[in-house]
């Protein structure tokens, strides 16, 4: 199969407008004849469900949470980019596009990224109208800040809770549609399989997490907005329940999985304190605007941070990257932190962190100003570590945060399975090999509010007059049976180890071999060791209790089983991509200064993997990336 990205012809700035004109429309009176299933109700899913409902489609939305407001979009702290140029500092749609393409190390699709920058402007308007309490200046106009990797102030924010406020906005808008009867909401329902007929998506199979009941749901189109797969690392900043299962089940039914090795390690997280650590907590990298990052020059340093004189501190980012300093992109900041910690310069009881110091900002702007900007982050830090960042520098270390890879989609956000769409972090499309700060919220809302509702009509229009495939069709019975069989298998292995045990062990392999730095030797080892652990999982798993009640162990077992297969594909993809780019750093491919070295001749493509079966490696399909508007340069933040 040749991957057709369906990127429209014409100049970059006109592609989206001309595409919107050219896609088929569904007449307003006919929209109610189409049923769309939206799986996941985070930013992308809730905004898509709300907008599709407003347009007149019949929408069913599914979340495995007890309420859509729990989705992990809620945890994003820092902000959302919008190319409004309210600060008159030279921002523009083109600059946001350019920064995103460059920040993604030239591994994103130009047309998608440009469209993202275009609609970013509308998102800010939409969310303000929705009542999102964005931060404001005293004059009453919206405030902005500059955010990791950007040289303009284009980030809108709501204290340190931007994700929460945006999610609540989208959730409330969707609840309005629930109230209007246009969206039917299913909570505590986990999608466990995609149902296809003649190669086309026709519905899903879900498990009711409270009763264990397995049910089928059919529609004219299925939209997956089920987030990223960062929890494959076990320790990550993702919520405990984040998983790849919906996307992975779709992959196993024929949806290509693109660029799985592009994972983002976030530079400003709280380092692990002990072996029982269940997750890592991210602190917004907006902290890097005012915090200075350093480690002691002496590996044997024993003094408290504030007693270490200036000349004995190593401000490694400011020294190595004078133009960007502490605001270098995430991958650069993360790798440099790892480098100094590997050199034995780490701080804290386990020597596994670096300092992020606010003393200079407090001296410059006063404690009140600094506190106003970061109070919730500083309070959170103090709650977790027992240390007050106003008095002693924070300790930070990188942790897995976001995954740029995901289901391959074309310009319409349709996967390689007709009628199956992927939105938000679940798709691969807009960030290339590395995502810039404040862009995840932007992409989730762009897809859900302003892209999918237009593009989905193109495939629906041709189905006018057809009913969704009945759930009595044998394809649904077969899918339900497969789901039941799998659950029965988990319940009957009767081994000795919990799903968490296997998840933790898998996470160690992924972090060690497919973490911030990868090499051939390690990746080959990773594949072998992941396979061995997977075999052990299927022999030695222990799930207690019943399958007809709430059973977190059972839920977890299914998610971990899918992580095993994903982990192996990540290693394979990383092995195949013999270059460094963005979040993917191959030790074999670096500049003399130790920076990521791309190989544009051989790897300026998207790797989209096709599933065969659990024991046959996936086949790679390449979508060549065409750069007509930006010149590929070696990224340099010196």
């Amino acid at each position: 199969m040749v991957l057709d990205s369906k990127v429209p012809e014409g100049p970059l700035a006109e592609k989206w407008d001309s595409h919107k004109f050219n896609v088929k429309l569904v007449n307003p009176a006919n929209k109610r004849k189409f049923k769309i299933l939206v799986v996941g109700t985070g930013l992308a899913g809730a905004s898509a469900a709300a907008t599709l409902g407003e347009l007149g489609y019949e929408v069913e939305a599914f979340t495995f949470h007890d309420s859509p407001r729990r989705a992990h979009s809620i945890a994003a702290q820092g902000g959302i980019n919008g190319a409004k140029n309210y600060r008159n500092d030279g921002d523009s749609i083109y600059r946001l596009f350019y920064d995103t393409i460059k920040g993604g190390d030239y591994r994103g699709r130009e047309a998608n990224t440009y469209r993202l920058a275009q609609v970013s402007v509308d998102i800010i308007d939409q969310m303000a109208a929705q009542g999102v309490p964005f931060a404001r200046e005293y004059g009453g106009l919206l405030a902005n800040r500059s955010f990791g990797g950007a040289q303009v102030s284009r980030t809108f924010y709501a204290r340190g809770q931007t994700g929460q406020q945006l999610l609540l906005g989208a959730y409330q808008q969707m609840m309005g549609q629930v109230n209007a009867g246009k969206v039917k909401l299913h909570t505590r329902m986990e999608m466990l399989d995609l149902v296809t007929k003649d190669g086309e998506a026709v519905g899903i199979v879900c498990r009711n997490l409270l009763t264990g009941e397995i049910t089928s749901h059919s529609g004219h189109a299925v939209v997956l907005a089920t987030g990223g797969y960062g929890n494959v690392f076990y320790l990550s900043t993702n919520a405990m329940a984040c998983n790849v299962t919906a996307a992975w089940r779709a992959h196993r039914k024929g949806a290509y999985f693109a660029n799985p090795c592009y994972t983002q390690i976030h530079p400003t997280c709280i380092p692990a304190a002990d072996e029982f650590q269940s997750k890592l907590t991210l602190m917004s990298e907006s902290l890097r605007n005012d915090g200075r990052i350093w480690v002691p020059r002496d590996p044997d340093e024993k003094r408290a941070a504030k007693d270490i004189p200036e000349e004995e501190r190593y401000y490694y980012l400011e020294e190595k990257y004078p133009a960007f300093g502490n605001l270098v992109p995430r991958d650069v900041a993360s790798r440099n932190a790892k480098t100094v910690v590997d050199q034995g310069l780490g701080v804290g009881p386990l020597k596994n962190g670096v300092y992020l110091d606010f003393a200079a900002a407090i001296e410059r702007d006063g404690l009140d100003k600094v506190w106003e900007r970061y109070s919730n982050l500083m309070e959170m830090y103090e709650r977790i570590t027992g240390e007050d960042p106003r008095e002693t520098p924070m300790r930070i270390f990188p942790a897995t945060h976001y995954t740029m890879g995901g289901l391959w989609v074309d310009y319409n956000l349709m996967t390689s399975i007709p009628s199956l769409y992927a939105c938000g972090e679940a798709n691969f499309s807009d960030h290339g090999a590395n995502r810039l700060g404040a862009s995840a919220l932007m992409q989730g809302l762009a897809d859900g509010y302003f892209v999918l509702p237009y593009t989905i009509g193109d495939s629906l229009a041709g189905k006018l007059g057809t009913d969704p495939v009945s759930t009595d069709d044998p394809v649904f019975a077969d899918a339900e049976q497969a789901v039941r069989d799998r659950i029965d298998t988990f319940m009957s292995i009767n081994g000795t180890r919990s799903p968490d045990y296997f998840h933790r062990e898998l996470g160690k392999l992924i972090w060690n071999y497919i973490g911030m730095e990868r090499d051939q030797n390690g990746l080959e080892k990773a594949i072998a060791e992941i396979r061995a652990l997977r075999e052990e999982f299927w022999k030695d798993l222990r799930v207690l209790g019943n399958s007809d009640t709430l059973n977190s162990s059972l839920e977890k077992a299914g998610r971990v089983a899918d992580f095993f297969e994903l982990g192996e594909l990540m290693a394979r993809d990383a092995l195949d991509r013999e270059e460094s780019c963005g979040g993917h750093f191959r030790a074999e491919s670096q500049t003399p200064e130790g920076e990521a070295l791309r190989d544009d001749e051989n790897f300026a493509h998207v790797s989209a993997w096709e599933w065969h079966d659990a024991d046959t490696p996936q086949t790679k399909h390449a979508e060549e990336l065409v750069f007509e508007n930006v010149e590929l340069t070696q990224r340099s933040y010196k």
Partner: protein, 257 residues
């Protein structure tokens, strides 16, 4: 390095919504004081699984104090003794070696137990569905800076909007009243210019939906004490004022139809 604690836990176990519940006693050994409260429960569960016993179901997800999924009664207090702290952000350094800790699900008739420490909080969604939104269909918005909002007003709306919907206010209230949750959402939306057109319709609908599920408010103030976001009681007063007004305004609007 951290110290470790040995604790005795009395935990509410209940197989399902219709089963009878009971307290069971568990020993938690060698818990590092840097661990979070939920990580302590993780350890207990791993040990239970090892012993072939069904692990304890407890609500949790982001473990960053923002998603609102977690929440249990700890020694009789919603989210435990630390002020302004969700259960997931409570750390074991706040306890002492040898402590006995009682852990129960949220206490409220509107939140029936699903299993062990997990309850059903769907009435909170019902209150939002009744009117907790601003009708602004996608694509209709004017430029965001066309409507300036004084910083003080935006900040006050944000103070209310910070609610994470965990339900601790209701669990802590002797009447299981839903006033703090409902009023926080009402003040968020009612105090902004964008929220004005639907202000009184929203207020009447949300208050009356709330009353279908929850008890009455008698100004104990336990809700705000238990709130992990320290949402202010003032919002309840604002809600009451708007509710009374809504009865008059909505009738007047109905008369104009």
């Amino acid at each position: 390095m951290s110290n470790t604690l040995n604790l005795t836990l009395q935990i509410w176990r209940q197989e399902g919504p219709n089963a009878a519940g009971r307290f069971e006693t568990y020993e938690a050994r060698d818990i590092p004081d840097d661990a979070s409260f939920l990580e302590m429960l993780d350890v207990v569960n791993e040990n239970l699984i090892e012993d072939g016993k069904v692990p304890i179901e407890f609500p949790h997800d982001c473990r960053e104090g923002i998603c609102g999924t977690c929440g249990v009664m700890i020694n009789g207090r919603a989210h435990g003794q630390e002020k302004g702290t969700a259960t997931c952000q409570l750390h074991m350094r706040k306890f002492s070696d040898g402590d006995t800790i009682a852990i129960e699900p949220w206490r409220a008739a509107a939140f029936p137990v699903v299993k062990d420490l997990v309850v059903d909080r769907s009435p909170l969604d019902a209150v939002i569905e009744a009117g907790g939104f601003i009708t602004a269909p996608t694509g209709t918005a004017a430029d965001a800076n066309e409507t300036p909002i004084p910083k003080e007003a935006a900040d006050s709306a944000m103070d209310a909007a910070a609610c994470i919907g965990c339900g601790a206010c209701i669990a802590a209230c002797p009447n299981s009243a839903g006033q703090l949750f409902t009023s926080a959402k009402l003040w968020h939306l009612n105090s902004l210019p964008q929220g004005q057109p639907e202000r009184f319709k929203r207020t009447e609908a949300m208050v009356e939906t709330m009353e279908q599920f929850f008890g009455s408010c008698t100004n104990h103030g336990e809700c705000s004490e238990a709130c992990p976001k320290e949402i202010s009681l003032d919002f309840i007063a604002y809600m009451n004022r708007d509710y009374i007004k809504s009865k008059r305004v909505n009738r007047k609007l109905a008369g104009q139809r």
